[in-house]
C-alpha cells in the first residue's frame, strides 16, 4: 500500500502570532518575535534574548484535572491542536469513533521537573509536589495529555530528536499514513519557554548576545551572526491520507511527498555537511520529483556560525545550479527547537498558499558559502508550488521534508 499523504489542518501558537492569519502577516512583514527578558540576566544568563508567548489561561476551557496535568508546552500544544482540528473538521464525534493517532515532537519538560524538585528539596515530602507534577514532567507530556483530552485512539507517541523533533514527527507520521497503518495522525512540535529549559544551552555560549537589538539578533546566514535565539510555543499539523480527507470533505492544504533522514555519526554539537546532504537527497528521492521542482527551501539555519555554514555547503552541494530560494524563518521566530520542524512546515505552507516568500531578515552581508545561495532580503511577491524544509539537531540527527501543493501542474 502506498497512499498519498496530505495536510488537512494546521494550528500555531508562536512568538510571531497565535493564529494562522497573524503568523502569515508577520511572515509577510518580516516581523520579529524576539525580546529581551531582564529576568534571565538577573539569573546569570549570558544572553537574555528569547522568543516569547503568553501562557494561555485555560480555566473554563478545560476541567481542573485536565489543566493541572498540562505542562507549559502541552498548554501551547493544546491551543495549536484545537485550531488544527477545527480547520481539519475533526470533531469530538469523529475522534470518538475512529482511530486517530497523535505523534508530537518534544524533548524536555524542564520547568515542571525543576519546580517539583524545588518543592521536594524544601519540604522533604514528595506528596507536596501535587498530583499534576508527574504528568507535566515527562517528555511525553504533550501526547499523554492531548490523547486523553481529545480522546484519541490511534498511535500515541512522542518523538524526541532535539531540534529535529517536530520534523521527524511529521515524516514518521507520513510513513504510517502512506503505509495504511493510520488514516489520520495529529502531529506537531512543542517547546517550553523558560529559564530551566535553556539555562544549560545558554551555558555553552550558543546564544546570540546582540542584546541591544533583539529583533536583529537572529540573523541566519549573515556574516555577522553570533548565535541563535531560543524561542518556543507549539505547532500542530494534521497528517491524513488523501482518501480519508476526500471522504471526510476536509480541506487539503498540501501534500507531503517525501521524508529524508540521517545521522551524522560525528560530533555531539557541531553539525557536518555530509549528514544533511544524505537527508536532503533521501527526501528528494522519496518525493519522486525533479530537484528543479523545489522552488523554496525553508532552511534549518539557526544563526550559529558553524551550523549555517555547513547547511549552506550542503544546500549548495545538493541543489547546485538549480538555486531555489533559501530562507530561514528563524530570523523572525528565533529557534523554536523541538517545535521548529513542525512550525516551519506551517510557515512554508502558509507562504505557499498565499503566494509569497518571507524575507530572511537581518541578512545583510553574506559569507563565502551563503553568497552562493539565493536568499531573499525582502518579501518576494511570487508564489511557489513545492518546498523542502530542513531540521537538524544535537547528536547529528537530520530530517528533511518535501511538501507540494496538491495536483501541482509544475
Amino acid at each position: 500500500m502506498n497512499k498519498r499523504v496530505v495536510i488537512t489542518g494546521m494550528g500555531i501558537y508562536s512568538c510571531i502570532g497565535k493564529t494562522l492569519d497573524e503568523v502569515a502577516e508577520s511572515l509577510y512583514l518580516g516581523r520579529s518575535g524576539v525580546i529581551f527578558d531582564p529576568a534571565r540576566k538577573a539569573a546569570g544568563f549570558r544572553s537574555s534574548l528569547t522568543g516569547t508567548v503568553e501562557k494561555p489561561n485555560l480555566k473554563g476551557v478545560l476541567d481542573r484535572r485536565e489543566r493541572i496535568c498540562l505542562s507549559e508546552e502541552a498548554s501551547y500544544a493544546y491551543i495549536a491542536t484545537r485550531q488544527a482540528m477545527e480547520q481539519a473538521r475533526l470533531d469530538s464525534d469523529y475522534l470518538e469513533n475512529h482511530e486517530v493517532g497523535i505523534m508530537y515532537g518534544n524533548d524536555s519538560s524542564a520547568d515542571a521537573v525543576v519546580s517539583s524538585v524545588d518543592v521536594i528539596r524544601e519540604k522533604k515530602d514528595t506528596t507536596l509536589v501535587g498530583s499534576g507534577a508527574i504528568f507535566q514532567s515527562m517528555t511525553s507530556t504533550v501526547t499523554m495529555n492531548l490523547s486523553v483530552i481529545f480522546k484519541l485512539k490511534g498511535i500515541n507517541l512522542t518523538i524526541s530528536a532535539a531540534c529535529a523533533s517536530g520534523s521527524h514527527t511529521i515524516g514518521l507520521a507520513s510513513l504510517l499514513v502512506r503505509s495504511g497503518l493510520q488514516d489520520i495522525v495529529v502531529c506537531g512540535g512543542a517547546q517550553e519557554i523558560n529559564m530551566p529549559a535553556v539555562g544549560s544551552f545558554d551555558g555553552i555560549s550558543a546564544f546570540s548576545i546582540r542584546e541591544d537589538e533583539p529583533a536583529r539578533a537572529s540573523r541566519p546566514f549573515d556574516r555577522d551572526r553570533d548565535g541563535l535565539v531560543p524561542s518556543g510555543g507549539a505547532a500542530t499539523v494534521i497528517v491524513e491520507s488523501y482518501e480519508s480527507a476526500v471522504r471526510r470533505g476536509a480541506p487539503i492544504l498540501a501534500e507531503i511527498l517525501g521524508y529524508g533522514f540521517s545521522s551524522n555519526g560525528d560530533h555531539i554539537s557541531v553539525p557536518n555537511v555530509w549528514g544533511p546532504v544524505r537527508s536532503l537527497e533521501m527526501a528528494v528521492k522519496a518525493s519522486g520529483i525533479n530537484l528543479r521542482d523545489i522552488e523554496y527551501v525553508n532552511a534549518h539555519a539557526t544563526s550559529t556560525p558553524v551550523g549555517d555554514t555547513n547547511e549552506a555547503k550542503a544546500l549548495n552541494q545538493v541543489f547546485g545550479s538549480v538555486n531555489p530560494w533559501v530562507a530561514s524563518t528563524k530570523s523572525m521566530t528565533g529557534h523554536e527547537m523541538w517545535m521548529a520542524g513542525a512550525s516551519e512546515v506551517i510557515y512554508s505552507v502558509l507562504m505557499m498558499q498565499r503566494g509569497f516568500i518571507a524575507p530572511n531578515i537581518n541578512f545583510e552581508h553574506p559569507d563565502e558559502d551563503s553568497a552562493r545561495l539565493r536568499i531573499p532580503t525582502q518579501t518576494i511577491q511570487s508564489g511557489f508550488d513545492c518546498f523542502l524544509s530542513n531540521s537538524f539537531g544535537f547528536g547529528g540527527t537530520n530530517s528533511s521534508l518535501v511538501v507540494r501543493k496538491l495536483n501541482s501542474k509544475k
Binding site: 476541567d63 481542573r64 484535572r65 515530602d125 506528596t127 507536596l128 509536589v129 501535587g130 498530583s131 499534576g132
Partner: protein
C-alpha cells in the same frame, strides 16, 4: 479565628481548588463524593491543607473523614492557625 470563620476559609479553598458548587457543601454532606475526589485528587488535598492550614495530612487521616464536618474537625484540631472555640 472562630470555628465559623475557619469553616468559611476551608470551604473557600475547597471551592477554589476543586471547582465545586458551594451550595453543595453542608456539614453533613459526604466530603469525597461532593468534591468528586479520586485518589489523585487526594494528593492535591494534602497540598492544599499544607499550604493553607500549615500541617501535613496523611492517607490514614482520611479513613475517618466521612463528612465536611469531620474535615473541619481535623483542620481545627491540627491547624497552626489560632482557632477559638
Amino acid at each position: 479565628m472562630t470555628r465559623s470563620e475557619l469553616i468559611d476559609k476551608v470551604n473557600e479553598v475547597l471551592i477554589e481548588e476543586f471547582e465545586v458548587d458551594g451550595s453543595l457543601i453542608t456539614p453533613d454532606a459526604p466530603l469525597l463524593a461532593t468534591l468528586d475526589l479520586d485518589s489523585l485528587d487526594l494528593v492535591d488535598m494534602v497540598v492544599l491543607v499544607e499550604q493553607n492550614f500549615g500541617f501535613t495530612v496523611k492517607a490514614p487521616d482520611f479513613a475517618n473523614i466521612k463528612t465536611f464536618n469531620d474535615f473541619y474537625n481535623l483542620i481545627q484540631e491540627r491547624t497552626t492557625l489560632q482557632v477559638v472555640a
